[in-house]
Symmetry: C2
Subunit: 183 residues, 2 copies
């Protein structure tokens, strides 16, 4: 191949052999489609565990507009670069290279994404991810949290037309947003 | 044993041998504690699949106030009856005994729990559960949806002090409720 494929950069036309190989490896039942279980068995986080069901469903769902529950090679190709981008972001903030992001690292990451959350909220996010020790967030949990926060932000902004940082909302609508943004 | 243990009824004092046997079976690593993976490997839904990670984390979390990620036999005993209660509710609404609840069955279940949702919202709940066919909800998904809706209802009511069915809420608070009520 000529040149170097940029980190997290989408491929320019066609499916690279690298992606093709990955796809074939992940598509265990040779259906030509990848579902979340297949994706899960291919992805391991810095804690030596497979990515969570939630993370895999979320990521498949992002490239599966018809909600079939699985994606073909073209969508996989996009997903592949998407995951690599997140891995890049994660590594930037995981300064001690521990494979997990800690409280201060997460606070910094979210701040640089433009969010101003209270220390309690950051603690809450970590606690929710690391049920046992309340200390670190793995890369798959980081992806889930970032995607959910982004989705909530968009949903919130749609309602917050005057940009007051406050919205008035009914119960079903509230439920709908909350359940729609989480997987 | 004397008498018959009522369906979904909490045991009166002590741990029954039935619960003890279950606990020993589920606690594969003999740690004296059950985590969500152990629970998952013990529970199968009417579709012949294991309960989802989400359902198992949610249920462990309900009986794990210290957020250790696992529960002992006393909490397991409560969880055991709790799951049986949900199975009972599910079977009541699964009129055709298909092992899955369909749109009209779910609408009826939620209505009898006191919720008035639009048909679109019911469709959305089913779609979210059955990514492939948009038709049925399994028992573990049903438990997750009901628990989430209950939690959201409580969180919403706390804010909706005048019972207008509408609340005004800021972004972090909104995120906090949404992420807290979902697992």
């Amino acid at each position: 191949m000529y040149g170097q494929q940029g980190y997290g950069q989408a491929p320019q036309g066609g499916i690279s052999p690298e992606i093709q190989n990955w796809f074939t490896m992940v598509d265990k039942d040779r259906s030509g489609q990848i579902n979340y279980q297949e994706l899960k068995s291919a992805l391991v986080n810095g804690q030596g565990e497979h990515f969570s069901d939630t993370a895999c469903k979320l990521m498949i769902g992002m490239f599966d507009p018809n909600k079939t529950g699985s994606i073909g090679i073209n969508e996989f190709s996009q997903l592949y670069y998407y995951i690599n981008q997140w891995l890049g972001v994660f590594k930037t903030y995981d300064r001690d290279q521990s494979g997990g992001i800690e409280e201060n690292e997460l606070a910094q990451a979210l701040q640089q994404m433009g969010f101003r959350f209270s220390p309690d909220f950051i603690k809450f996010l970590i606690q929710k991810s690391d049920l046992q020790n309340h200390r670190v967030m793995s890369v798959d949990q980081f992806i889930v949290v970032c995607v959910q926060i982004q989705r909530f932000t968009e949903a919130f902004r749609t309602k917050d037309t005057e940009q007051r940082g406050m919205i008035t909302i009914g119960f079903e609508e509230f439920l709908n947003i909350a359940l729609n943004c989480t997987t």
